[in-house]
Symmetry: C2
Subunit: 663 residues, 2 copies
Amino acid sequence: MFDAAMEELATEKEAEESHRQDSVNLLTFILLLTLTILTIWLFKHRRVRFLHETGLAMIYGLLVGVILRYGIPSTIYHNKTPPSCSLKEGPVSTLLLNVSGKFFEYTLKGEINSREIHNVEQNDMLRKVTFDPEVFFNILLPPIIFHAGYSLKKRHFFRNLGSIITYAFLGTAISCFVIGNLMYGVVKLMQAVGQLTDKFYYTDCLFFGAIASATDPVTVLAIFNELHADVDLYALLFGESVLNDAVAIVLSSSIVAYQPSGTNTHTFDASAFFKSVGVFLGIFSGSFAMGAVTGVVTALISFFTKLHCFPLLETALFFLMSWSTFLLAEACSFTGVVAVLFCGITQAHYTYNNLSEESTKRTKQLFEVLHFLAENFIFSYMGLALFTFQNHIFSPIFIVGAFLAIFIGRASNIYPLSFFLNLGRRHKISGNFQHMMMFAGLRGAMAFALAIRDTATYARQMMFTTTLLIVFFTVWVFGGGTTPMLSWLHIREIWCKVVVFRVSFTLKGDNLLSHVSLQDGPQHEGGSKTKQESAWLFRLWYTFDHNYLKPILTHSGPPLTTTLPGCCGPLARCLTSPQAYENHEQLRDTDSDLILNDGDLTLTYGDTAITANGASGGHDGTRGEWGGINGKTEAAPERDSEAREHETTSRGTRLVFPVEDHA
Amino acid sequence: MFDAAMEELATEKEAEESHRQDSVNLLTFILLLTLTILTIWLFKHRRVRFLHETGLAMIYGLLVGVILRYGIPSTIYHNKTPPSCSLKEGPVSTLLLNVSGKFFEYTLKGEINSREIHNVEQNDMLRKVTFDPEVFFNILLPPIIFHAGYSLKKRHFFRNLGSIITYAFLGTAISCFVIGNLMYGVVKLMQAVGQLTDKFYYTDCLFFGAIASATDPVTVLAIFNELHADVDLYALLFGESVLNDAVAIVLSSSIVAYQPSGTNTHTFDASAFFKSVGVFLGIFSGSFAMGAVTGVVTALISFFTKLHCFPLLETALFFLMSWSTFLLAEACSFTGVVAVLFCGITQAHYTYNNLSEESTKRTKQLFEVLHFLAENFIFSYMGLALFTFQNHIFSPIFIVGAFLAIFIGRASNIYPLSFFLNLGRRHKISGNFQHMMMFAGLRGAMAFALAIRDTATYARQMMFTTTLLIVFFTVWVFGGGTTPMLSWLHIREIWCKVVVFRVSFTLKGDNLLSHVSLQDGPQHEGGSKTKQESAWLFRLWYTFDHNYLKPILTHSGPPLTTTLPGCCGPLARCLTSPQAYENHEQLRDTDSDLILNDGDLTLTYGDTAITANGASGGHDGTRGEWGGINGKTEAAPERDSEAREHETTSRGTRLVFPVEDHA
C-alpha cells in the first residue's frame, strides 16, 4: 500500500512536470509574439518597410529554434526511453495499461517510424515544442480565413469576380498539375541518380503541387495597402489568394482520395480520377453551402430578433455561429476552413447590416485580433520548426526542382489565363499587373499547414522541408522586394484624395448637436461605374441579391413591395421590415458601394478621386495613412445605417476640398 | 504489404471518426450556448428576472445531458472494449506500442478504476463529452478571473478594502475549517451507520471545505446591477467573491500539500500543518507578485513605447502579456488563476491609463466576450455533467450534511466578522446587509472547477456530485430569490439620478464643434468622501500610489517633480512624461473616482446622488437601465484622459437637473 502511494505520487509529479513543460513551451511562443509586436511597432514607428511582421516573426522563431536546438545542453532533458509493449492487433485509439492490477488509459498520438524512435529517446524537449499539426487546421487557420472572408472588399471584389474565380479555380488547378508533373520529373531524375532512397509516388507529387499552389500574399497586400497601389490589382490578388486557399485545401484532399484503387496504385486510373473530381466538387460545394447557410441563418436570427439592443449577446452569437460553421462542416466530413471562408463572406454581406453599430466594431476587432495573433503564431512557429522539427529531409535536387517548378507553375497560371481574361475584360489586366501578380505568388500559412498535416512518410517529410524553405524564401525575398518592384513596374500611384466633410446641425431637445462626418470621394459615380463595368453574370446576381435577398435577410435594401411583382403583395408586406421603407431612397445608390474594411476606404475610392482630379501631389503619399490598419480609420463611417443617419440629420453645407497628402 | 496498407487505412478512418466525434461534441456545446443566448435575449426583452443566464445555461445543459444519456440508443456507439496490455513498471507519460514491427506512440490520459473500466466498455459517447478537467483551469477560468480583476470598481473596492480582505482571507479560512470539521462529523456518522464503503480522510473533508468556500454570486451581482442595490454592499460582495476564489484555490492546494508525512497520514501533524501554512503563504504571495509584476511590466512597455498609435498591436500585446502571466505562474508552480487576477487588477489600475482610447474599449470588450462565453460554457457543462459524468456517487446523508455545513460555514464567516468589522468601520455593515451577504453565498464556476479537477478516488467523486448539487441549488434558489430578498430586506433603493450635461463648444479650424457629455453626480464631493472614509492603511497606500507609482507607470497622475523631495529633482524630471504637467490640476481630484466598468456608472455615483437629493421617484426604477451591460453605457465616458479632455475643451454651461426614472 505504501508502494502504491509512492507510485501515485510519482505519477502526479510526472504529470505536474509535463504540465509545467507545456506552460514553458507556450510561454516561449508568447514571448516570441510579444517581441515581434514590439519590433513591428519599432518598424512602423521608424517606417521600415522592407520586412513585414510575418517575416519578422519567422526570424525570431528561427533564433529561438537555434537556441533550443544548440544552446541548451541536452543533459537537462529527460532522456529516458519510453517503455514499449507489444500487441497483435492493429493500433487502436484507446489502450489500457495494466500495471500490477491498476489500469491506466492511453490515447493514440500517432505512428512513429524507426528513425523517430531514436528521437523519442534523444530529445524530449524539442519534441514537446512540436505541436499537433491538427492545431493549425482546427484552431489557427479558421480565424485567419474567416477574417479574410469577413474583410473582402466587396465592390472591387465583385467587379473582378469572374477573373478572380478563373485564377483561383482554373489557375490553381493548372499550377497544381504543372508543379506535380515537373516534380515527378525531378523525382524520376533523383531515382536515376540514386538520390532517392524511399518511395515517392506520382500522387505524392500531385499532392505537393496542391500544397505549393496555395498562395498567401499577406506581405504584398500589406504593402499595397500602405502604398495605395492599384485597387483592382489589390482586389485580384486578395480575392485570388483567399479563394485559392480553399481550392488548394480541397484539391489536396481529393488527391488523397485518388490513391486507393486495388493493388495497382500510383498509376493513372480514369475511374479513380473521376472519383477524385467528384470528391473535389462534392467537398467544395458542400463546404460552400454549409458556410453560406450558417451565414444566412445568422442573418435571419439577427433580423428577426432585436438582439442589437444587447451588443455583447450579439457578438457572442456571431462568434458562436461562425465557429459552429467550422465544426458543422468538419462533423459532416466537409472542409471546415472552406466553410468558414464562405460563412465570413455571407456574414459580411448580410448579417453585418443587421448588427448594431457597436457589434460591427466589436466583431471586426475581435476577428482582427484573433487573425493577427494566429497569423504571427504560425509564422513564428515556422521559424522554430526549421530547427526543432526532427525529421527534416534536405534534398538539394528536390529543393531546386521545387523552386523552379513553383515559378513555372505560377507563370502558367497567370500569363495564359490573363491573356484569355483580357479577351473578355473591358478593363484589361496590363502586362505590368501580370508581372506583379506573378511576383506576388508568396507561400504562407496555408501551404505550411497543408504540409505539416501529414509528415508520416519519407516523401511527406521531404515535401515539408521543401515547403518550409519555399515559404522562407518567398516571404523574405519577394515580400521584401515588393516596394522596389512596384516602383519598377510603375504600379505605385500618386495619391490625391477628395475629402468631403459634412457638417450637420440638429436640434435635439434644448441642445444643438453638430455632427462632422468625413466621406471620401463622390459615391454615386462609383456606384454606376460598378454596374457598368461588371460582367453580366455579376449584374444578374447583383439584381437578384439587391432586390430579393437583401430585403429578406437584412434591414437594408429596398422594400420587397417595390421589387416583387404585384401578385405577391401580401407576402412582400409581411416580409418587409418597417425600416426598409424609410431608407428606400438613399439605399438604392449606396449599398453597392458598401465598403466593409474601413481601413481601405481611401484606397477603394481612390481611383474615382483620381479620375476626377487628375494625378497630382508629391511622391510619397503614404504618411497620413501609415496607421491604416488601426484606429484612425474609425473616423470614416461607412455602414448603410450610418450613411442613412447622416442623410437624415444633415441640413448643412457640404464642403469639398482636395487634400494633398503630406508630400 | 497489402495488409499494412489496409491497416493504415483503418487507423486513418478511426482517427477521422474520432475527429468527427470531437467536432460533434463541441458543436453540441456551441448550440447549447447559442440557445442560451437567444433565450437570455428573450428574457431580457420581456424583463424576466427570476432566472439568470447561468441558471438557464445549466437547465439547457441538463436537458442535453438527459438526451445524451437516455435518448440515444446505446447501440449506435462503439462498444468495443479497448485492448489492454500489461507492464511491470509504474505508469509513464509516453508509451510505445509495437504492432508487428511498427511503432505507435501513446500518451497517458489518466488512471481509471475498476468501475470505470466497465464504463469504458459501455459508452464511448458519454465519455467523450466529458472534457479533460484541466481545460477548466487552463482555458476557461483565466478569462473569467481576469475579467473580474479588470473590472473591479476601484473606488468602492478600495473604500471597503479592509472589510473585503477580512471576509476573503479570514472568512474563507473560517468557512473552510467549519465546513471541513462538520463534514468530518458527517463522515464519522456515515461510517457508524455503515453507509460509507471506502476511505474518507480528514484532509478530504478539509479539501471539501476549501471547495465549498469559493463563492460566486454572479447571479446576485447581475441583479444588483439591474436593480441598483446599495453600492457598498455590491463592492463588498464582488470584492469578496473575487479574492475568495484566489484564497480557496490556494487553500485547496495547500491542503493537498498537507497530506504526505510518513506512514501515519491523515491525523493532525503540527509540522505538516505549518508546512501547509507556509505553502499557502508561498503560493499566494508568489502568484500575487507574478501577477503584479507582469501588470507593471505591461504598464511600463505601454508607457515607454508609443504603441498607442497602433491599437491592434496594443490590444494584442495586452492580451499576450496577460496570458503570459498565467503561463509564467504555472511554469513556476504557482497558481496561474491567482496571478491572472492580480494581473487584471494591476492592468486596470496602471496600464489602462496608458492605452489609447480605442484599445481601452477593445480590451474591455475582448475580455467581456471571452468571460461571457467561458462562464456560460462552464455552467452548461455543469448541467451536462450531472447526467454524463460516469462516476457520480449520490450519498443522501453526505449531501444533506454538506448543505447544512455550507450554511453554517457561511454564517460563521459573515456574522462574527461583520461584528468585529463594525467595531472599526465608520460606515457600519447593517444587519440587513449581513443577511444579504449570507444569502448571496452562491457557489459557481470555481467550486465546480476545483471539484472536477481530481475525481480519482471515491471520496473525491462523492464531493464532486455534492458540489454539483450545491451549485444547482444555490444558483437556482438563491439566485432566483434575490429580487424578493432585496425587497424584503429593504435594500433595493429608490432611484433618482442627477444628470449633468456639459455642453462644450470648441473652434477647431473653421468648424464649430459642439460636444455634449453626460456625467453623473458631483464627482468632487465623492472624491473627498472616499479619502475621509477610507482606513488609514488605504490612505497610506493611496498617497504612495498616487504620488509615486502612477506618475512612474502611467501618463496620468501629478508630475514627479511636485511629489518627490527636491533632492531628487533631476531623476523626477527625467521620469515624468510631458503629459503629466498638463493634466496636473484636473487629475488630483478625479483619479480616485476612476470607474472602470462603464455599465455601473449610475450605480456607483448613486449614493452621492441620493444624499444630495433625498429619495424620491417611483418604485420600479430600472426601466432605463435595462440594457446596462451593453452599448448604451458607452455614452458615459469615464477615463482619466477623457475627463481631462472635457475639462480642457469645456467653456460652456453646466445644466444640472434631476431626472426621475420612468416610474
